[in-house]
Amino acid sequence: MKSELELRGVQQRFHARGVADGYITAVDDVSFKLLASPPQIVSLVGQSGSGKSTIARNVLGLQKPTAGSVLYGGKDIFKLNRAEYDAYRRDVQPVFQDPYAIFNPFYRVDRVLWKAVKKFKLASTRAAGLQLIEESLKAVRLEPENVLGRYPHQLSGGQRQRIMLARVHMLRPSFIIADEPVSMLDAQVRKHFLDILLDFQREHGMTTLFITHDLSTVYYLGGEVMVITKGEIVERGSVATVMHEPSHPYTKLLLDSIPQPDPDKRWTTRIQVDELEHLDDNTLGDATKPEAPII
């Protein structure tokens, strides 16, 4: 069975004293489905704090949702038997947001790769393992000799993030959960990175859940997109449709806020921060009023 990953009515609440009812709801009634085949790229966009990372953690089984369920191959991931659990772990792998904290500063970076080799029995001999690792590093355009044997602090952010990609390349999971993998990178490296992801989809048939707040990257990747705000998915569809005919005002705002790398296309409208903070359907109507009085 080529698997599928499904979120069904996932809700995640956090205990928070000092809030009116004692809880904040980070994710509310989110449902969607990721299919392993045909391989696809599904993007999840939303502003900071909208619940994107929480969904990623739910999908990865790092956090049990308060309500609803995450299903892998039709079964709740928190109720899998051993074999199913192994398959799930094998199939669903992350690329995390922060390329700095993802490495244990105590160890050399290759440990992450060797761990993957050992835990998932990718190679039977050391030599085979090394070959696999080098292959994967090359696939993400890293020179093995420049990375292997180094400590995390000796690598740049882009290099580190690519090591995570190499890990995924090696593991060939059906699903990559990539939580803002490019937010820390500059344009060139970012482009590289996105190309690698696209490559994974085409060459290795991996499905990616791509989480970001940056619509331009989403546009670059194409595929499907879901727009999330305040824990709820407010709009979904193919990138082309959503980008060209955004139906939700929030999507429109996001689109509008991308700084166009063209000095001739400067913003002509202004938005206000306090309006952003109370962003909902009512106020959003006039959030982008032209020539609104300066902040």
Binding site: Q93, P94, Q97, A101, I102, P105
Partner: protein, 293 residues
Amino acid sequence: MPMRILRAVLRTIRNSRRLAMGLVILGVLVLVALFSPLIAKAIGGGQDPIELAAYDKWQVPGPSHLLGTDQFGRDVFAMVVKALAVSLQIGAIAGVISTVVGVIVAFVAGYKGGWIDNVLSTFTGILLVIPTFPLLIALSAYAKNVSLFQVGVMISIFAWPFAAKTIRSQVLSLRTRPYVDLARVSKARDLEIITTELLPNLLPFIGVGFASSALGAIFGLVGLEIIGLGPGGVIDLGQIIYSAISTGALTLGAWPMFVVPVGLLTLLFAALNMVNIGLEEVYNPRLRGVAGE
């Protein structure tokens, strides 16, 4: 893994002059302690130099007794050397036990969280505020025929909460690190995560816990001896100091009985502190290059 730790240690030492110096001093003290039986033998020249009435009492320092003799005619130099071994031993015993217990409790509490954490933290908090001195006496009066090891164990009972508290708060902050999540999705189990991901990063804190427990134990022992509940038949540095105090050695002019053990203990503290600070410097990137003076 051990190789890796060793390498990390070497790397660490290279990075801190203070750490290296602390380790050298510690090393010398440990060596002296290890060779103490031989040194004592050499001093005694066939006779046990710390047997009661081995020599005349209260001899001034001189060629035959480098640091003189005490009120029972024992060679003070031999006593100090032997006592150093005992003090280091008790420090090591209590340091190891309380660090191990403290680390385990801290990890269970910090990593598991929830009610386990609540219970363990409250218990730790409770033990932390009980003044240890009276309890130590009660305990050591209770255990019949205490040995050095048992005293070490007793002292550890009250030393571990301190280590546990410091380490727990570190575990709390470390366990939400992304690399822990990465380990989890790499199918690592809790125990493995604790030992391979968290533990190495806590080495400096464990070092601090170890050092303060060890120092606490060395002084706990002095306290016990002052009220006559120390382990039988051994002499430690604290006891020599105590006996210098109670016999009024200072006014007699028998300064070595006071100055030498106090000096050695101070050296020991300084070395342990240097190791601690060195470790912190090396492991806290922000302190790197900053703390060195």
